[in-house]
Every structure is written in structure tokens, then in C-alpha cells.
Amino acid sequence: MIWNTDKQTLDDLNIFGKKGKDSVYALFNRTCTTGGAEKLEHIFHYPTTGADEIRERTQTIQFFCSTSATFPLEAVWIEVMVAYLSDRDSRTLLRADGETMESKLNKWLKADTQLNFTQKALKAIGECLTRLNSFLEQTNENGQSSAFQKMQKEVKSILNNQEFKAAYSSLVGTRLSFEQIASGDRFFRFTHYDQLQHILEYVYWLDLYISVATVARERKLAFAEVLPDGDQQLHIQGFYHPLVPGALGNNIEMNASQRVLFLTGANMAGKSTLMKSFGITVFLAHIGLPVPALSMKFTVSDGLYTTINLSDNIQMGHSHFYAEVLRVKKVSMELAAGKKLIIIFDELFRGTNVKDAHEATVAVTALYSELENSLMLVSTHIVEAADDLRHQCRNIRYAYMPTVMKDHQPVYTYVLTEGVTEDRHGMLIIQNEGILDILANGKKEKIYE
């Protein structure tokens, strides 16, 4: 089953980012092969919901992380192999018999580009498979029966098949005779093509896992633990934004008695960054990748929806407010359909007047806190909403991002603190800019002077 999320969420969390800019995907992508990068992109685009799959993936990455393995093959070999294997027209098959004078002359002059290419590709196959075989001999099984393990076993048995082994071992080292090239060509490109494809598929996954494991080791990422199915819950210790240098960690617990985290804080205190880090952590955990946190335990949810940088849609005639309403509606429909969701709303309903925003924030937050299939992180400027919610609901945690004043300059701690803050220093900023002083001392003109 595909995990539920959408473009708005991926954009909010900067999962893929804009070309050339930092993104979560780019952070993990240290793959050597194009195929590996494609596999990684695929799991980012189509997250899975199966708890078993997530566990398997986590364990595999953990395994490579513990062995500190590096990718054993050279990317060039793979590129050459892929290019070589892509042409399977039997007319291009090299034939050992029926050589003409012309082909002999070309061969002698080394002018037959196809022959040269085939030779190069076969040598790459020989090097690649030999190296892979010795890599697999050194790699211990990690004792689980995951899909990757199965694949690995299969590849091992292919590589150790007598005929197959003889075929690739003979390609290493020496110069190949024309007869060797012709028979190797037939063997790998036609008769044993499928086996080679199996091996390539495995190599891509290996590339991906080693790439992710390297990142996890370097950045000291944690591996999230999947809890058995049951009440939705999340326990994250010390999570931070992986793309913000020196980001500080925070803790979040969510379960049936704390379904909602109600977040307040002044402008620039780090509310949005906290929400994004939370979203990224949850997202990564659900695709089985290591998370930017100290530790994490969670039950698998069916999806993640965020609303952080919602823009109005003037072309469709939607005001900012209406765009927000439609967004809430979309999420509500998913919830009503019984999906277990994790929801992040940053400054909901900022596009309308205070009373409406207040009322709507309270109504939506209270509603979501009562549902059994949602965990929500919501932030707002309207601190008064907290008072109403305290009367109505019991499973809301109130926390804020604090601001400390030092010499009339706000300093931010970025540490989540219990309670609701009324911190505000909009007026302070206005005072610092001296706007009212400018106006107080200008050249005023009175009436009828």
C-alpha cells in the first residue's frame, strides 16, 4: 500500500527541493550508480506503509552501518554494463565463424568499434562480478529473511554457479581472444541475460543501502523502532532539522492521551523549523530510513499531511483563506475515510480576521483531537485559542518556542517548553525601527493654522 502524502507536503518539508538546492533526498543520496539513485528516489516518492517492510529496511541499513561497508564496485563498470546490455538485437551478436577479410582487417587495425566496445563491456562484467563475489564472501548474513536477504542469496548462488563463474572469471586480466569475446557476448547478453539483470537489481539496492548507511554513520542518525500495531503513537527524542547546521534537538511524545501538540511562539522563534523537522523525521521513519534524532519509536501511520507554506491560488480565484479551508477539507476527508494520519498545520487560518481564525482553529483542533486516527501538530499566533481548547479537550499538549530578551534584543533558545507563550515583540521591532519617533517629530500641519 502506498503511503498517503502529497506535493504540498513534500514541498513544505523540502524533501526533493529545487534543483541545485539542499534537500532531504540530496542529503541521503550518496549513491554511485544511476540505478541506485533511481531506487532511492522511488522510495522517497512512494513510501510504503507495511511495518514489516520498514523494519526490514531499517535492519538492513543498520547492518551496513555496523559493517562500515563501502560500495565495492566502480560506477564506470555498471554504466558500461547497462549500456552494453541495453542492445539485445540478435543481429548484433558477434559470430566466431564466417569472418570476412574485411572484418579481419578491421580487427587487426583495431578499428572495429563494436568489437572494442564488447570487449570493454565484457571486461567490466568480469571485474564487476569477481569483485562482487568476493564482497559477498566477506559479508556475513545478518540472519533475517528480508527481501534484500533473499535477493542476496540468489545473487550468491548465481555467482557460484560453476558455468557462470567460469564464464566471468575467464574475462578478468588477460587480453581476450576474438573467440572468447564472441562466446562471452552470447553468454552474457543473450543466454544468461536474466541472471545478469538480477545481479544488477541487487547491486542498485546494495548501492542505496550502503549510501544511506554511510550518511547515517557520518551524521550519527538514529534508527526508528516500529511499535506493534495498535493505538497511534510516536516517541521522538532529540529530533532536529537535518539541513540546519547546529540545529538543537527537541522531544515529542504523542499518543491517545496527547493527540495534539499546540505550539505557540513569537515570530522567528523557530516554530516553523520545529514543525518541519518533525515532519521530516516522521517521513523518514515511514520509509525506513534513519532519522535525525537521538531515538524514535512509532506505530506506522497511513499518511502525513502538512500545511506550512500554503499559497493562495489567484488563478483559481482562491483567496489565501479559501485555500486553507480546502486544505483542511482534503485532510478531513482522508480522516473520515478512516486513515491514520499525522497532520501538521502551521498558522492555520491566518488569511482571515481574528475572530474567525480563533473560532476555526478551536473547532478544527478540538475535532481532530477527538478522532482516534490522527496525531496533530498545530501552531498559531492566536494564543487565546488555547484557553477555549483547555475547556473542551483533555488530550492536548501545549508547548512553545521561547524568546528571551537580552538588552532589548530578542534571543531564541529553540528549546520546546511546556505551556502557552504570549511572547510578542512586534511592537519592539517597530520601536527598534523608530517609526513612531519619526512620526512624532515630523513636520505636521494643523488644520486652519
Binding site: G351, T352, D356, G426, L439, Y448
Partner: protein, 451 residues
């Protein structure tokens, strides 16, 4: 009159808010007023739009010129290409004496004889096309314009009659279908354009472009029943009757009067009720009035201002690290400096300080409003979602008008009248929109509590 010293103060934010400029935007005010038939006319209109007038006399003169062209059914007669040839000829070659010119022509034609014809051909085409344009202008001036009841046109034709009635033009007309001009003839005509008359021809061109602009504007005025603003001298005053946004098809007109006694309009209303549109209308009318152009209103009276600033669609500036709120603060500061400098300004602020929490927005909006109110030489238009600011100002400040754009609830749908009403509106139907979308109906078990 020193134009440079007193240019109209405005900025990019304002012109973009009001969508004033922009040749390539079909819905800009410039495009609406641009009915020119010549490139020179279009360029001139652009400079008009970029430099509003700050002298009442200059504004009134332009207004008179345009009004005098209304319902004259005139169309500028010269093809763009021909006029361009004349302009190109006049700007490419400096004025020069007869003898020197003759040698120049002789040299050009000798080179042409030797086979290198390009230069001679080029100059020859410009010259003959340019002269043809002059002939057309002469005929038009002579035949159509002279009899017109328009002081502007009479002045114009009078200014150039001597020049255009020159016998050289008659000679050229007689020759037009004949052979190629001889060396003597060519240098005679060239010296006609480039001799003592050179400057006059240049000013003729400029006046033609101006006429082109004015004819277009006059036509627009006539088609849409735009009015010519009455320019007042003295204290700040702005009076609009039936003013509407010129870019809208079925816009509804509204009235407004601001003066030194009540120099601030406090505007409220629900989302989508038309607040922003009305604020833009005020800005556009004021700007157009300072161009000396007719405005989309039934009546308008205005004094001349030193400038116009608006902040309607203020974006945040992420690349500079400004949050939306900080961008607003900086904008207000920029405008506050101009106001404090004692200039006579029209200031338009839509939803000030919407990027921060309510209390800050409340304090900031009321603080800024009260501080600005003291500048009676300037007029202010403010809108806000925070109606409580209005209640506070009503208690504590004098000189503010309170109006709102109403929205009526009718059988679960909202109707907007787009007609200003007295007072402060706390109309809001955000919750209604949410209910209409049926969000709470999705959860029948919880429905009772929320509906």
C-alpha cells in the same frame, strides 16, 4: 518651473500594487490608456506615466488639451513607418550649412556611382519617406485641423503653418511621381530638413506624438464617460463620486471625501467584499489625475500632491531574510519618513501588519494610525481585519472616517454589494465558508457539537 526639483514621489511597490505601468501587461492602466498609433506616441505615454505632474497649471493645461479633442472623431493620419523615417532622418544627421551639405550629398552619390550604394539608398529612402509624411501632415493640418474648435489644435496648427506651407514641399509633391531627385534637388530638400528648421521639425515630431497620445486618451474618455478631475489649490482634499476600477467590466462606483478635517479613511469589510479593489481605485484615480488624464469616475476634485504610496500586496523578502511582518515594518518606516518630511501625500495601506499576532497588530496599527493622523497635509486610507482598532480610534481619535464594504448573507450564500457604507463592519463568515465546505459533516458522530 523646475521639474527636476519637484518630481512626484512614488515607488515600485506602489506602481505594482496599482498595476499602473507595464507595457506588456494587457491589464495594466498604461495598456488601458495606450491607444497610440505611433511608436513615438507610445514612448511619450510611457514617460508621462513615469513622471506624473506636480504643478496644477501643467495638469490643467494637459486636461484642457485632451478635453478639447473629445468627440472630434479625429484619427492620426500618418503611417507609423513614414513618421519613423522622418524621425530617423532628423536624429541621424546633425544640422549643417548648405555648402557643406551639398558636398556631403555629392560625395555620397559619387560613392554610390562607384557601386557602393547602401548609404545613399538608405538616406534617400529616409528623406523621401520623411517628406511624404510631412506632406500628409500638412494636408491634415490644412484640411481637417484648422477648422476645429479646439484651442489646442489651433495653437498646434498655427505653430507649424509657416513651416508646412513652405513652397519646397509643394515642389516635392509635384515631383513625387517623377524621376529620382538630382544631386541639386536632394541637397535642397535635405537642407530644408537639416538647415535652420531642424529644431522646429523635431518639435513638430514631439507635438505629433503628443497629439497621438491625446487623441487616444480623448477617445477612451468619450467611450467610457470618464471625467476630468477638478484641480484644487490649497489644503489637501480628495473628492470622488462614482469612482470605479477601470480594469473591471461591471464595476460599481463609490464616493469618498477626504480633507484636512478628516484626513483618514478607516476601511473594514469581510474577505472578498471589495476593500482592496476600492483602495486601488482611489490610488489609480489620484495617479491619473496627476497625469492630467481623465479618471474612471463621475466627478473628481483633488488638490495636487507631492506623492502617492501604497502597500497592498506586500511580499516577504526571503532572500533578504525578512519575514512578512518585518517587510511590513520596513515599508511603514519608509513611508513614515516621507510623511514626517512634511510632504503632501496620499497613503494607502491595505491590511497593515497582518504578518504578526493580533495584539501586536492591534497596537501597531492603532499607534501608526494615530501618529499619522496629525499630518493634516496628507491623506490616509487604511484597511484592517482588526475591527477593534476601529472601536479604539472612534473613542480616542478625531478626524477619521469609518466606512465598510458590506457583505450580505442570503440563503447560505454571501452577496457583496461593493457599495461603501458608513461605519465599521465586523462582518465575517470564515466559519460559514468552513461549514459550507462540509468539513464537520464528514464526521457524523461529532457533528452535533460543531454545527
Amino acid at each position: 518651473m523646475n521639474k527636476e526639483a519637484r518630481s512626484f514621489c512614488t515607488d515600485r511597490q506602489t506602481t505594482e500594487d496599482l498595476n499602473l505601468l507595464g507595457k506588456y501587461k494587457t491589464d495594466s492602466i498604461f495598456s488601458l490608456y495606450n491607444r497610440t498609433r505611433t511608436k513615438g506616441g507610445e514612448k511619450l505615454l510611457e514617460t508621462y506615466f513615469q513622471h506624473p505632474l506636480t504643478e496644477a497649471a501643467a495638469i490643467e493645461e494637459r486636461q484642457r488639451s485632451i478635453s478639447s479633442l473629445v468627440s472630434k472623431a479625429l484619427a492620426f493620419p500618418v503611417e507609423e513607418k513614414e513618421l519613423e523615417a522622418l524621425e530617423q532622418y532628423l536624429t541621424s544627421f546633425a544640422p549643417v550649412g548648405k555648402v557643406k551639405l551639398f558636398t556631403e550629398v555629392l560625395k555620397r552619390r559619387s560613392v554610390a556611382l562607384a557601386g557602393m550604394k547602401e548609404e545613399q539608398d538608405h538616406v534617400y529612402t529616409l528623406l523621401t519617406e520623411g517628406l511624404k509624411a510631412l506632406l500628409k501632415l500638412r494636408d491634415w493640418f490644412r484640411g481637417t485641423l484648422t477648422g476645429m474648435e479646439s484651442g489646442y489644435l489651433q495653437k498646434l496648427t498655427g505653430r507649424y503653418s509657416a513651416l508646412l506651407e513652405n513652397k519646397l514641399l509643394d515642389q516635392f509633391e509635384a515631383h513625387i511621381a517623377g524621376d529620382r531627385l538630382s544631386v541639386m534637388q536632394q541637397s535642397k530638400y535635405e537642407s530644408f530638413l537639416r538647415g535652420d528648421n531642424h529644431e522646429t521639425f523635431n518639435s513638430l515630431l514631439r507635438d505629433c506624438y503628443e497629439l497621438d497620445v491625446f487623441l487616444g486618451v480623448a477617445q477612451l474618455m468619450e467611450e467610457n464617460n470618464y471625467c476630468c478631475p477638478v484641480i484644487l489649490h490649497g489644503k489637501a482634499l480628495l473628492k470622488l463620486k462614482g469612482a470605479y476600477h477601470p480594469g473591471l467590466k461591471k464595476a460599481i462606483g463609490n464616493d469618498l471625501q477626504l480633507d484636512a478635517r478628516q484626513n483618514m479613511l478607516f476601511l473594514t469589510g469581510a474577505n472578498m467584499a471589495g476593500k482592496s479593489t476600492f483602495m486601488k481605485t482611489i490610488g489609480i484615480c489620484c495617479y491619473l489625475a496627476h497625469l492630467g488624464f481623465p479618471v474612471p469616475a463621475k466627478e473628481m476634485e483633488t488638490s495636487v500632491y507631492d506623492g502617492l504610496y501604497s502597500s497592498i500586496n506586500l511580499p516577504d523578502n526571503i532572500s533578504k531574510g525578512y519575514s512578512h511582518f518585518y517587510a511590513e515594518v520596513l515599508r511603514v518606516k519608509e513611508v513614515a519618513k516621507e510623511v514626517a518630511a512634511g510632504k503632501k501625500l496620499l497613503i494607502i495601506f491595505d491590511e497593515l501588519f497582518k504578518g504578526t499576532n493580533v495584539k501586536d497588530a492591534f497596537d501597531a496599527t492603532s499607534g501608526v494610525a494615530r501618529a499619522m493622523l496629525d499630518y493634516k497635509q496628507s491623506l490616509f486610507v487604511l484597511s484592517t481585519h482588526i475591527v477593534e482598532v476601529g472601536a479604539l480610534l472612534q473613542k480616542e481619535a478625531v478626524g477619521i472616517q469609518y466606512k465598510y464594504m458590506p457583505s450580505l448573507l442570503e440563503a447560505n450564500a454571501t452577496r457583496y454589494t461593493y457599495t461603501l457604507q458608513e461605519g465599521i463592519s465586523d462582518d465575517r463568515h470564515g466559519m460559514m465558508i468552513i461549514r459550507q465546505e462540509g468539513i464537520f459533516d464528514l464526521f457524523p458522530s461529532k457533528k452535533l457539537r460543531y454545527s
